[in-house]
């Protein structure tokens, strides 16, 4: 074990030395850890594209600390084991920092590797609360975690003058967790949860739950699970004559919801991660992305772009690529914002605000809600 730490320490020294030699060549190597193969490859490629746009913009403006940025991709394939290999490879290639991290499961095991090698890590998509205790202190999460969705939802419901709420989940870990978080947050805010229901996944008929909800006359119904069954529930709620508000969590923000629920999904609200098309600041980013890659930017592109910009901002502020100084600068980030809004961190290095946006169903598509 002692030997192992020594090897890692040597690796860290090498990494620093690499930074020094990179300075001589006039480039800074930044690792991008995303899945570019496997089931999540489209998301990973999309995140890499966004990082590349940020790199081009930064280099066009003279780079950072007089050097140009060079991106090195580490493919974690959304697999914990492959993620460890990819991280070790990035460390051995002497990157000065890493951005990325899409799958939480593949991101948790690399935290220690970057921590031991003293490499700052800006996590731009992965947002499981499991990342928080595993963080040695060098990682910064710029995507909101689940508990923050509840905060966004509470604020939105209060804004819409909602007094009573019915919460429906599907009994699985994700939706039950969100439902519990929501119930606690809503009651803390002084709201009333008049109904708390659980339905079975894949059960087509939700009429008995719909009747139970109708009987309590809630101002709003909040569905915390996925779009397929959510579409059925929304349809059955409207069929039964329920006229209050319906809101859904980020598991249901797919446009497929409109396919299944049809007209019933008009006016439904959804809470979602910051998607480029709903970010006022992202107009030119979308244009650049479309020009470069002939496609719409995916859901985590703006966050990854921001991750790169934030990192460069921190290096400039620190005046060095020294890990401790960059981490200190990152932790002090306050109110810096690019596409997804202001970035500041809590003591646990998580985003200090909820970055969830509220969407509204209109003519079979999502638009930004007012």
């Amino acid at each position: 074990m002692k030997h192992f730490t020594r090897v890692l320490a040597a690796g860290a020294l090498l990494a620093m030395a690499g930074g020094a030699s990179a300075q001589a060549q006039g480039t800074l190597k930044v690792g991008v850890e995303v899945p570019t193969t496997g089931s999540e490859a489209t998301y990973g490629q999309d995140m890499y594209n966004a990082a590349a746009i940020a790199r081009d913009e930064i280099n066009a403006h003279g780079g950072v600390l007089g050097k140009k940025i060079q991106l090195i991709v580490g493919d974690d394939a959304c697999d914990p084991q492959q993620a460890v290999n990819a991280a070790s490879k990035l460390v051995s290639q002497k990157v000065v920092a890493v951005v990325g991290g899409y799958c939480s499961g593949a991101t948790v095991p690399v935290l220690k590797i970057y921590g031991d090698a003293h490499i700052p890590f800006v996590i731009t998509a992965a947002n499981s609360t499991a990342l928080i205790p595993a963080n040695p202190g060098n990682a910064f999460l710029i995507n909101s975690t689940g508990d923050q969705q509840a905060i966004t939802a509470v604020k939105f419901f209060q804004h819409k003058k909602i007094k009573t709420l019915a919460i429906v989940n599907e009994g699985d870990a994700y939706s039950q967790n969100l439902a519990d978080l929501m119930r606690t947050a809503w009651q803390k805010a002084g709201g009333k949860v008049v109904d708390f229901e659980t339905v079975n996944k894949g059960e087509q008929d939700y009429s008995s739950v719909v009747t139970a909800i109708d009987a309590k006359h809630p101002d709003a119904v909040f569905w915390t699970a996925y779009y397929a069954d959510g579409g059925l529930l929304i349809r059955q709620l409207r069929q039964s004559g329920y006229q209050g508000m319906i809101a859904v969590g980020d598991g249901s923000n797919s446009v497929k919801l409109f396919d299944i629920a049809g007209k019933a999904a008009e006016g439904v609200y959804a809470f979602s991660n910051p998607i480029a098309q709903f970010l006022p600041a992202a107009k030119s980013f979308i244009a650049t992305y479309k020009k470069e890659y002939k496609a719409e930017p995916g859901p985590y592109a703006p966050l990854t772009y921001d991750g790169m910009q934030l990192l460069v901002w921190a290096m400039k502020k620190a005046g060095t690529t020294n890990a401790a100084a960059v981490e200190k600068a990152l932790a002090s980030a306050n109110g810096v914002h690019w596409l997804t809004g202001p970035i500041a961190f809590t003591k646990k290095n998580t985003l200090a605000r909820s970055n969830f946006v509220v969407l509204e169903g209109k003519n079979g598509a999502w638009i930004a809600a007012k």
Binding site: G202, D205, V210, T211, A212, Q239, G241
Partner: protein, 304 residues
């Protein structure tokens, strides 16, 4: 909403749900009646019925529209098509196994279930298919109770199919033969009944009923996916057992009872919807403990 209104609403919900359970349970019970097989692929034939009905409606909706008229026609086509599939499955997978140990044919049924599920999974890529129709949200208000036209049509159709089945079983030559086969294969053969053909007819009718339920469910709820038959298959099996497996009126009764139990299980004060299945299946255990043959099941040999 007062308690009596809630009860009335849940009664309607239970009737609709129970109609689906009953239609699927009928196939279970008929097939068990003639060859003593628990056809675990039955729920998946319901699912295939939904998809075939969807394809049929897509093909004919240009001519007949996709209101209830079009859906009925699509349902009929699906019943014929999937009924034939049921017969084909019986000929290929079950027929050679009729004299094998009971366990072998049961496992064959599980295999058929997996084959159907995975075939549809591969064809649809695991995606949900939206079943678009022109069905409106209209209905009638009986005082404070709202019943949609769709619910009425659904229950009426299911009731119509069950009456037709009852007539078929009790008043036609094939129905009489089917009841006879349920009692004794060898004796039927001695009497000149083509047992093998009657088993085929039973599979056709049973599967067609599941296909009818699948098409109606797809149109009513508005979506289809490859796994939709699993849960309803399980519930329909439960309904058949509650009513007395092998008994046709028992399957109808069992389906309605299970539908009502689930609806009211959501409403019991103090326990929420998370417990409704616990409630419904606890009743199943109770029925089996007190009356192992089911509510309308007979202890003697006759099982149709």
């Amino acid at each position: 909403m007062s308690l009596s209104v809630i009860i009335a609403h849940q009664l309607v919900n239970g009737l609709v749900l129970g109609s689906f359970y009953a239609l699927v349970a009928l196939g279970y019970t008929m097939i068990f009646g003639v060859i003593k097989l628990l056809n675990f692929a039955h729920g998946d034939l319901y699912m295939v019925g939904g998809f075939v009905g969807f394809l049929a409606l897509s093909a004919i909706s240009g001519v007949v529209g996709s209101g209830w008229g079009g859906i009925f026609l699509a349902m009929l086509l699906s019943m014929i098509g999937v009924g034939c599939l049921g017969v084909l499955i019986e000929r290929i997978a079950y027929h050679p196994m009729l004299h094998a140990p009971r366990l072998s044919i049961l496992i064959t049924a599980l295999a058929v279930s997996l084959v159907l599920q995975n075939a549809v999974l591969a064809l649809t890529g695991g995606q949900y298919t939206a079943f678009h129709t022109d069905l409106g949200f209209g209905g009638i208000h009986l005082g404070p109770i709202f019943i949609s036209y769709n619910q009425m049509v659904l229950v009426a159709t299911a009731a119509g199919l069950m009456v037709a089945l009852e007539f078929f079983v009790t008043h036609t030559q094939y129905g009489r033969a089917m009841r006879a086969v349920a009692i004794d294969h060898d004796m039927c053969r001695l009497m000149g009944i083509d047992v093998s053909a009657i088993i085929g007819v039973t599979f056709f009718v049973g599967t067609a009923l599941a296909a009818a339920a699948g098409t109606m469910a797809g149109a009513y709820y508005g979506s289809l996916w490859y796994f939709m038959g699993f849960l309803i298959g399980l519930k329909a099996f439960t309904a058949a057992v509650i009513g007395g497996i092998g008994s046709i009126p028992g399957a109808m009764l069992g389906g309605l009872i299970l539908g009502l139990l689930e609806s009211f299980g959501t409403q019991i004060p103090g326990i929420g919807s998370a417990w409704k299945d616990v409630f419904a299946f606890a009743v199943l255990i109770l029925v089996l403990v007190l009356k192992p043959t089911g509510l309308l099941g007979k202890s003697e040999q006759e099982r149709m």
